[in-house]
């Protein structure tokens, strides 16, 4: 009787958690659609879409003569075969959205444009929402309270780079989803011992590598965790089996087969792109960007490390202050879940180590460190135990915790504010504006100015930091029709550094909000009604799902 009651309870609890995850997904999907961008994707994102178009039309066969549609997406970045140097994963995901891109590009009607953009960016909104939902589930699996997990998910979704990157089609945010899915599947296997979940984990890890080759560095890390799980069960079993025993064969097959399929796909894709299974295209002069081979991994390690962590224009924590909460949580996280904490810290450090030497460590043109846009969930997982304790103390009204509550709230609010700056202005627009300033003897990389990093001022000089720059651009857009306009415009953050660096002329198209409905509202107030109704509807959906979720999470 007691057993059946507890199984009913656990079933109800499981359903509640899944229901909450569904609510989180819906809330963030609505929210990220609400803040979808107002400008079409360019550069790498458009190239990824172009490859998707090519794959959807002709698969992996040779292109028929005159069948190349790539120039509709980007004027550069494709090989003659119609493929690119980038991983295939993101292009596979983008296949259903290529038509929306073309429609948005070709229309002159504001409403059709807005609808096409919403459809196009429903991909990144879905990826962002999935990241948040999986993060919530991983938190629960790691033993966090439901209310803490819910709060942490909202911190992740609104107060880290996850939000601004839901405005992009880069492959990096997809890595976060894949890796969280892998961790969740491992944890589910740990609890249920169902081999199927190892298959999911293997698929997720494999797809991440297919998405972006650098993700391969996580394979040994996840592999080590998988071995730990095998050992975990062998210690649990009555026979005290070694890791490699008969009982390990089935789980290993579950885990390895999808991983092997993904590996084969990558090698095959290399073959059809470069005629060589093992050519990855980056450091062997086969990419369209000469710098990949010319500079490659030649950044002094400490310089790259410094730049990723502390540089004023790219430092990870300046763009994700909420991730600082990982530090007070680290010790307890290590005590509570040692293997998982080791796995997470290895993932973070691995990424840091690899990109510290890569010439394009900054991932430009983008907001903050693009390659790290998949990392905030892992920092916040480490913050979990600290937040758990804080929520518990606050609920018990323990008076000593108020300083921590104020401190944590301030960090979260600051972090939210930083994301708003990232969402409201497209990063390329600021980069182009700031690049007009005559700071260096040369500008962008070329044969006469063979510079490894052609945005040195944006990356390192605090007055050129995109965080300050976006704030200035928002102010400029806001004051556009007021007498203050020219005063605000002529005072970019770097003006105090050198009077000669005041802008003489600006490109008006760069000074615009990067949210579809806000941009239309400012520029086409007469066409706003239908667009605004959609925005309000999405907002109401977000608020409703969130409110309902909060009530349920705190009740649970």
């Amino acid at each position: 009787m007691t057993n059946s009651l507890s199984s009913i309870n656990s079933f109800t609890q499981k359903n509640k958690i899944l229901f909450l995850a569904g609510l989180i997904w819906s809330a963030f999907f609505s929210f990220y659609l609400l803040t979808a961008p107002s400008a079409l994707p360019e550069g790498d994102e458009a190239i990824v879409l172009g490859v998707a178009d090519r794959v959807s039309r002709y698969g992996f066969s040779w292109l028929p003569p005159n069948a190349n549609h790539n120039d509709r997406y980007s004027s550069y970045g494709f090989f003659a075969s119609g493929f690119s140097k980038y991983g295939l994963g993101q292009s596979l995901l983008a296949i259903p959205f290529t038509e929306s891109f073309i429609e948005a590009k070709e229309t002159e009607d504001w409403e059709i444009f807005a609808n096409a953009m919403l459809r196009l960016f429903s991909l990144s909104a879905a990826i962002g929402a999935s990241t948040n939902a999986l993060f919530f589930l991983v938190c629960i699996k790691l033993g966090r309270r439901t209310d803490t997990a819910f709060i942490l998910t909202f911190v992740l979704g609104l107060a880290t780079m996850i939000w601004p990157y839901s405005q992009t089609l880069f492959s990096d945010p997809t890595l976060a989803t894949c890796w969280l899915l892998a961790i969740f599947s491992f944890l589910y296997y740990r609890d249920t011992k169902k081999g199927f979940w190892l298959g999911i984990a293997g698929t997720a890890i494999g797809f991440a590598i297919l998405d972006k080759i650098v993700a391969a560095y996580t394979a040994p890390i996840f592999g080590a965790y998988f071995l730990y799980l095998l050992k975990y069960y062998s210690n649990d079993s009555e026979n005290q089996n070694a890791i490699f025993s008969k009982s390990s064969i089935i789980p290993t097959i579950w885990f390895a087969i999808p991983l092997a399929i993904a590996l084969y796909s990558i090698l095959y894709y290399n073959y059809i792109r470069y005629g060589n299974w093992l050519s990855l295209g980056y450091t062997d002069s086969r990419t369209y960007d000469l710098r990949d081979t010319y500079f490659g991994f030649n950044v002094p390690f400490l310089s790259g490390l410094y730049a990723q962590l502390f540089s004023s224009g790219k430092g990870f924590f300046f763009y994700n202050p909420s991730c600082l909460l990982a530090f007070p949580g680290l010790k307890r996280s290590f005590k509570d879940s040692k293997p998982e904490t080791l796995m997470i810290t290895s993932m973070i450090l691995g990424s840091l180590a690899i990109y510290s030497s890569w010439y394009g460590w900054h991932g430009d043109w983008c907001w903050g460190l693009r390659y790290w846009s998949c990392m905030p969930p892992f920092f916040l997982l480490l913050a979990g135990p600290f937040m758990d304790q804080l929520v518990l103390n606050a609920q018990k009204r323990i008076s000593e915790c108020w300083i921590s509550v104020v401190f944590v709230s301030s960090i979260i609010i600051l972090s939210l504010f930083v994301q708003i700056l990232g969402v409201l202005i497209k990063s390329n627009h600021f980069i182009l504006t700031a690049s007009q300033v005559e700071v260096f003897q040369g500008k962008f990389f070329n044969a006469k100015w063979p510079i490894r990093d052609d945005s040195l001022q944006l990356h390192f000089f605090p007055e050129f930091s995109p965080i300050a720059g976006h704030l200035w651009m928002i102010k400029t857009v806001f004051y556009r029709d007021s007498p203050e306009y020219s005063k605000v415009l002529s005072n970019p953050p770097w003006a105090s550094m050198n009077e000669l660096w005041r802008l003489k002329a600006i490109e008006p198209k760069n000074f615009r909000y990067n949210i579809w409905w806000m941009h239309t509202w400012v520029n086409q107030p007469e066409n706003i009604d239908a667009i605004l109704i959609k925005a309000v509807f999405l907002f109401i959906l977000f608020i409703s799902f969130s409110t309902f979720g909060i009530r349920q999470a705190f009740k649970t």
């Binding site: 502390f310 260096f440 040195l456 605090p462 007055e463 105090s496």
Partner: protein, 560 residues
């Protein structure tokens, strides 16, 4: 601690610390004459020594021996007078070094000249040691901490300079120590010493004025504590309190009065400080003044690759692991220290020259390492106790602290071996920005942007490269090393074009002579050998004695 340790023992150890560091800092005195601000301060010292505050005689041009710029017609400068007063006894040594006819004469004069910063540095260390004990730290950990302060922080490279900033550290530590001594002994004379030290710091550098309210608050806190302890119950304003206030304020007001008088004779106005009203010789003081965006200045001071405080003083990072216990053990003192550090950071965050160039690291924060390490001290205390009790958990912490201390030591070696100006001039040859140094056609607020912010131009990496270049000078690899400065990976166009040999030399008086075989002579080596033997013997004696003494204390405590 002090009750168990006899007073003379404490003073013996403090003296030992002083002598040890005086020897070390003389060993590493620089090889080149001071320039710029340092020479101007010396020039004013010379003017004061010869003419006091009276007007200069007509056609008096002896200040030109010190610097070609930076003096007003009156022979004074925009800087505070404190450092110049201290410089008076060594101005002759400067002139002797400048006019020396042979290397031996030059080196002797340099040693005399740099005995001033060596003694200021040694005093800072000795006072720091005394304060550690006053704050309840163990004798052995106080000694380890002072070794960290003296050899793993900027305190060491700044003993190669005559800037006024290191003097602030000595003054503030003296004030702090005196206030703590007053707390323990109730002797008002120590309040007088504290007031004089705070006042002299203000006289040394006007910005030190920000500490006057901070120390005054701590002084009031001590008065309140004494009042509560005496349980007098009466009014706070008793005769005893009035005496204390008198002792504290009198020297302070005298110094402030002297400063206002100095302003008057320089600028014709007591309240004109010469920085932001076009009274200074440097137009940037007035044009840019305090116009740096606060957060940009804060980032520059703490996290910039070329100036960030913790990159130059990695051992000070220990503060973050000690502050909680420091706060629990010495609440008022920790608050005072935090305000001293925070105040300095806040003021300089907006000042156009927050970097204090041309110098090694953040010059204006060169007085701060002792305060960071005071906050870190409970961590070191606990660590030593754990190590002595053979607690295995201490091993990891001890390893991390040791690594940090070793990295920090290595950083100071880089700062000492090469004169910072030589690197700045070398790196400035690179055609990176549209213009170079500040002028009317290139009105830039910070004319070393690349050195301050781009990691590949960081002086830490740059000094290392210069050292390597010197090391390989007579080998076939020399050109290859020279042509590979740290910034070369950024742009191949930035390869150095012509070697200026005079910039590539070691900045330690005797190493420079050893390296230059034409002037190789034994008297310099003999002097160094003597100084080194003294330094090393005293260091070992200090280490053994403090640990032995602490063991006795521990034993007597456990017997009790």
């Amino acid at each position: 601690m002090t009750s168990i340790l006899k007073k003379f023992q404490i003073h013996f150890f403090a003296l030992l610390v002083w002598t040890t560091y005086f020897c070390l800092y003389l060993i590493t005195a620089p090889a080149t004459l001071p320039e710029g601000d340092e020479a101007i301060l010396l020039g004013v010292g010379h003017r004061l020594a010869n003419h006091g505050f009276s007007e200069l005689p007509q056609n008096s041009d002896d200040l030109k021996d010190f610097s070609s710029y930076g003096f007003f017609k009156s022979g004074f400068s925009k800087y505070g007078i404190g450092q110049s007063l201290l410089d008076i006894p060594i101005t002759k040594a400067f002139l002797d070094a400048k006019k020396a006819k042979n290397p031996e004469e030059f080196r002797s004069a340099m040693l005399r000249l740099y005995s001033l910063p060596a003694s200021i540095g040694a005093t800072t260390n000795a006072l720091f040691f005394l304060i550690c004990l006053k704050l309840g730290r163990r004798l052995d950990s106080a000694f380890i901490l002072v070794v960290m302060l003296g050899t793993t922080t900027m305190v060491w490279p700044y003993t190669q300079t005559l800037f006024s900033d290191p003097t602030l550290a000595a003054c503030w530590l003296l004030a702090f120590y005196s206030l703590l001594h007053f707390r323990d002994t109730k002797k008002d004379v120590w309040l007088g010493v504290a007031g004089a030290a705070i006042g002299f710091a203000f006289l040394d550098k006007v910005v030190a004025g920000y500490t006057i309210p901070l120390f005054s608050l701590y002084f009031l806190y001590l008065l309140r504590e004494r009042h509560l302890k005496n349980n007098s119950g009466g009014s706070l304003f008793s005769k005893e309190i009035a005496y204390s206030i008198f002792y504290f304020l009198t020297p302070l007001f005298i110094m402030i009065g002297l400063f206002l008088y100095y302003n008057y004779i320089r600028f014709g106005q007591g309240f004109s400080f010469g920085y932001s009203n076009f009274n200074s010789y440097d137009a940037r003081d007035t044009i840019f003044g305090f116009n740096v965006p606060f957060l940009a200045g804060l980032h520059g001071q703490l996290l910039s690759s070329g100036k960030g405080f913790f990159f130059y003083n990695p051992s000070c990072i220990l503060m973050f692991f000690g502050w909680r216990e420091s706060f629990l053990k010495n609440k008022a003192e920790t608050i005072l220290i935090a305000l001293l550090i925070g105040g300095s950071l806040a003021i300089y965050s907006s000042w156009f020259a927050w970097h204090g160039d041309w110098c090694w690291g953040l010059r204006f924060l060169s007085c701060m390492p002792p305060f960071f390490l005071l906050v870190a001290s409970p961590l070191v205390d606990n660590l030593i106790v754990k190590i002595k009790s053979k607690n295995s958990k201490a091993l990891l912490t001890a390893s991390l602290v040791s690594v940090l201390a070793i990295v920090s030591f290595g950083t100071q070696i880089l700062g000492i071996a090469i004169k910072s100006n030589q690197y700045i001039l070398t790196a400035s040859q690179v055609n990176l920005l549209k213009g170079k140094f500040f002028n009317l056609d290139w009105p830039i607020r910070d004319d070393s942007l690349q050195i301050h912010f781009i990691p590949e131009f960081s002086p830490i990496a740059g000094h290392f490269w210069m050292l390597k270049t010197i090391y390989y000078r007579d080998t076939p690899n020399h050109e290859k090393v020279y042509e590979s400065p740290p910034w070369i990976s950024l742009n191949q166009n930035w390869k150095p074009q012509d070697i200026k040999n005079e910039r590539f030399k070691l900045n330690i008086w005797w190493l420079n002579s050893v390296e230059d075989t034409s002037t190789h002579d034994s008297p310099a080596i003999n002097k160094v050998a003597l100084l080194f033997t003294l330094f090393f013997s005293l260091l070992v004696i200090g280490m053994i004695q403090t640990f032995r003494q602490q063991n006795l204390i521990d034993r007597s405590k456990s017997n009790d």
